[in-house]
Symmetry: C2
DNA sequence: GTTAGCACTCGTCGAGAGTGAGTGCTAACA
DNA sequence: TGTTAGCACTCACTCTCGACGAGTGCTAAC
C-alpha cells in the first residue's frame, strides 16, 4: 500500500505526535528522523499521505496530525509493542501476585496496576454469565442480637454480612447450624435451593428454625449481588494530564462516565472478539469517546465467563506501550488465577 | 463591632459571592438586596468594611470580595445553618442507615453521603488510638491447601484473609481449632498475647500445631492493619466544577493530595477541638489549602478514639449548607453507631 | 525523482483603542 | 450629620490590527 519512504514518514508523524501532542511539520521530520531527503520531498509525500486519508491538517498552514485511519494503519502495520521491560514486569508481578490473596481483590489490583504502569485510566470488569454456587457457609457469633454470615463461593470469593436477629443463638448452636447449612447447601446455586430442601432444613433446625429464614434470605442476596458483574476503575485522574482534555467540561464528562457503572459497561461493550482490540477515535460507538482511543482485552475464567480489561487514552496514546502492559497484565492474570486454582481453560 | 447596615452589606457581599463567584459591586447590592439606600452610601460603607479588613478588591476598579477575615466574621456572627430539609434528611438516612450493616462500611458511606449532599469533596477518617482486641476468630475451609481466617474485632469490624498451608485440615478439625482459638484469644489485644499463651495453645493443638503459627501471624497482621487508621474520600471530582480551580495544575495538585493517605492526614490535622470547626483560607496550615476552606468535625466512638469528617471547598463555599449537612451526618453517625452497639459516650 | 526557492496561509502574540463595571471624591441637600 | 447625585478615574476585558513564523504547495532547475 505504501512505499518504504511514505511508511517511514507516517511512522515518524505518529511517533512524534504521540510524543509531543503537537502537529508535525515536514522540517521536523527531515531534521529529527533523518530519512536522507529534504523537507520538500517529505512535503510531497505528506501531501500524498493526506490524500490517502492517513493524516490531516487542522488548518492550511499547520503541521500534520494522524487521522483515525492513520492510527489504525500504524497500529495494524507498523507498531511493534516490545515485551515489558524487566523492571516493569517485576513491578507488575509485585503489584498483582503479592497483593492478591483473594479473587475479589484481583480486579481492583489489576486496574491499579494497569493505570500505574501506563498513566492511563483503566477499567476492569469481572467475568459474567457465571452462576455462583455456595461453597461454604459459616455462622459466627457477634453479640446478643446479631451474627455474622460468612459465605465462600465456588469462585473463592469471600463475602460476609451481619444478620440481625431478635435473639442470636450461642456459639455452639451456631457451629451446629453451620454444619447443617453446609451439608444441605454446599455446591448449590441460588436456583437449586428448592422449597423441599428448605422445608427439610426447617425441620432439622428445630427450635432454631426462626433464624433460618433471615439467613437464607441474606445468602440469596449475597449470591445475587455476586452474580452482578462488578466493574472497577483506577487512575481516572490521569486524564487531567492530557493536553487534549484541557477543556474542563470535556474532562468532567469523562470523569462522570468513568464513575457510572452503566456507562462503564457501555464503554467496554459486549466481549466477543478475543485478543487485544484497539478502538481508535471515531471507531468508538460512544460519542463521548470519539476523541479517545480504547485498548481492551477479554479474559476468560474457567468456563465461568469472560471479563474485560481496558485502557482509555487520547487518540495519540502510546499504543505500543499500552499494548505491552495490557498483555503483560493478561499474562499475570493467568498466573494469579492459576495460583487461586480458578483456571482450567485458557485466557484469550 | 459593625452597625446594622454594615452588617447587612457584608452579609450581602458574602452571600452574593458564594452564589456567583464574581466580585460584588455597590450597585449590585443596592439593586438586589434592597437596603433602601443608594449605591453611593453603600460604597462608603464598603470602603469602611475594607478598612476593617473584612473585604478586599482584586484591583482598584473591581467589586469587593470577602477576605478570610470577612468569611470568618460571616461564619462566626451571621451565618445561620438551617436544619437539613426534610428530603435531605431522608436521603441521608437512606444513604447511611440502610447501607451500613457493618462498621467498616460506615466511613466510606459517610464520605459518599457528605459529598453527594454538598457537592464538595469529603474526607472521613477512622477513629484512632484504639487498640483493637479480638472478639471472635473463625476458621473456614476453602480447599485442600487453604483456609479462610475470619476475624471479628471488638469494634465489630469483620476481616477475612486466606491462609495458605501445605495441607489444610478438614472442617471438623477447623471447628475444633476455632473453638480453641476463641477460648484462648477472645478479648485479647495483640500485645496481650503472651509467649506463655502461645505455648499453651501449641500444646493443645497437638498434631495440628503446624497451622497455629501462620494463623497467629496473620491474625497479628490483620489486627495491626486494623489499628492503622483508614481514611476515605469521596466526590473528589467535584473540584473540577469550581471556577476557582479552573487552573488545571492547581486542580491536579489537590487531586493528588486527596489521593495520598499521608497528605489526607495532614489536611485533617490532629483532632483536638470538638464541635464543627471551620478553617478558612489562610487559616489553613497547608499551603495547598490556603485558597480553600475546610469544614470538619470530630466524632468519638466509645472510648476507642476520635475520627474526623471533613468537607473541602473553595473559600466561597456555602458554609451554611455544608455545616447543616455535616451536623446532619454527625447525628446519623450516632444513630448508626447506636444501631451497631458501638457507642456509650457521646459524639462531639 | 529530488530539491531549492518563493509566495501564500493562518494561528499566535503583543500593542493599542474602546467599553463598561466599579470606585472614590466632592458638593449639595434634608 | 448622614445621604445622595454627579463626575472623574481606574482597570480588566474584548476586539482589531499588524508583525511574526511555522508550515505548506507550487514551480523551475538540477
Amino acid at each position: 500500500m505504501l512505499n518504504d519512504r511514505k511508511f517511514k514518514i507516517l511512522q515518524a508523524i505518529v511517533n512524534d505526535y504521540i510524543e509531543t501532542a503537537e502537529p508535525v511539520g515536514s522540517r521536523t521530520i527531515a531534521k529529527k528522523y533523518g530519512l536522507g531527503v529534504s523537507s520538500a520531498t517529505i512535503r510531497n509525500e505528506m501531501s500524498d499521505l493526506e490524500d490517502l486519508g492517513l493524516i490531516s491538517q487542522l488548518h492550511s498552514s499547520s503541521g500534520r496530525v494522524p487521522s483515525s485511519k492513520g492510527y489504525r494503519f500504524y497500529v495494524d502495520s507498523m507498531m511493534q509493542s516490545p515485551a515489558l521491560a524487566e523492571e516493569e514486569a517485576l513491578l507488575l508481578q509485585r503489584m498483582l501476585i503479592e497483593n492478591i490473596r483473594q479473587s475479589e481483590y484481583m480486579m481492583q489490583e489489576t486496574a491499579k496496576a494497569l493505570s500505574r504502569l501506563t498513566n492511563y485510566p483503566a477499567i476492569v470488569s469481572e467475568p459474567y454469565l457465571k452462576k455462583t454456587a455456595i461453597k461454604h457457609i459459616q455462622l459466627v457469633p457477634l453479640d446478643e442480637k446479631s451474627i455474622l454470615l460468612v459465605l465462600v463461593t465456588d469462585t473463592k470469593t469471600v463475602k460476609n454480612q451481619v444478620v440481625n436477629l431478635s435473639a442470636a443463638p450461642g456459639y455452639d448452636v451456631l457451629t451446629k447450624l453451620s454444619a447443617l447449612l453446609n451439608r444441605r447447601l454446599s455446591g448449590l446455586s441460588i436456583r437449586e435451593i428448592s422449597r423441599e430442601c428448605i422445608d427439610k432444613m426447617l425441620a432439622e433446625f428445630g427450635e432454631h428454625a426462626h433464624v433460618l429464614m433471615p439467613i437464607l434470605g441474606i445468602t440469596a442476596d449475597m449470591i445475587q449481588a455476586e452474580d452482578d458483574v462488578r466493574v472497577y476503575t483506577s487512575g481516572v485522574k490521569n486524564i487531567l494530564t492530557f493536553p487534549e482534555f484541557s477543556d474542563k467540561a470535556k474532562a468532567e464528562q469523562i470523569f462522570h462516565a468513568l464513575e457510572d457503572r452503566a456507562s462503564l459497561f457501555e464503554i467496554l461493550g459486549t466481549p466477543k472478539a478475543s485478543g487485544i482490540q484497539i478502538i481508535i477515535g471515531e471507531e468508538n460507538a460512544l460519542d463521548l469517546l470519539k476523541s479517545c482511543s480504547l485498548i481492551k482485552a477479554n479474559y476468560t475464567i474457567d468456563n465461568q465467563g469472560t471479563g474485560c480489561i481496558a485502557l482509555i487514552g487520547p487518540m495519540r496514546m502510546d499504543y505500543a506501550q499500552a499494548v505491552s502492559v495490557l498483555s503483560g497484565v493478561l499474562q499475570n492474570i493467568r498466573h494469579v488465577m492459576d495460583a487461586l486454582g480458578l483456571r482450567n481453560g485458557g485466557t484469550d
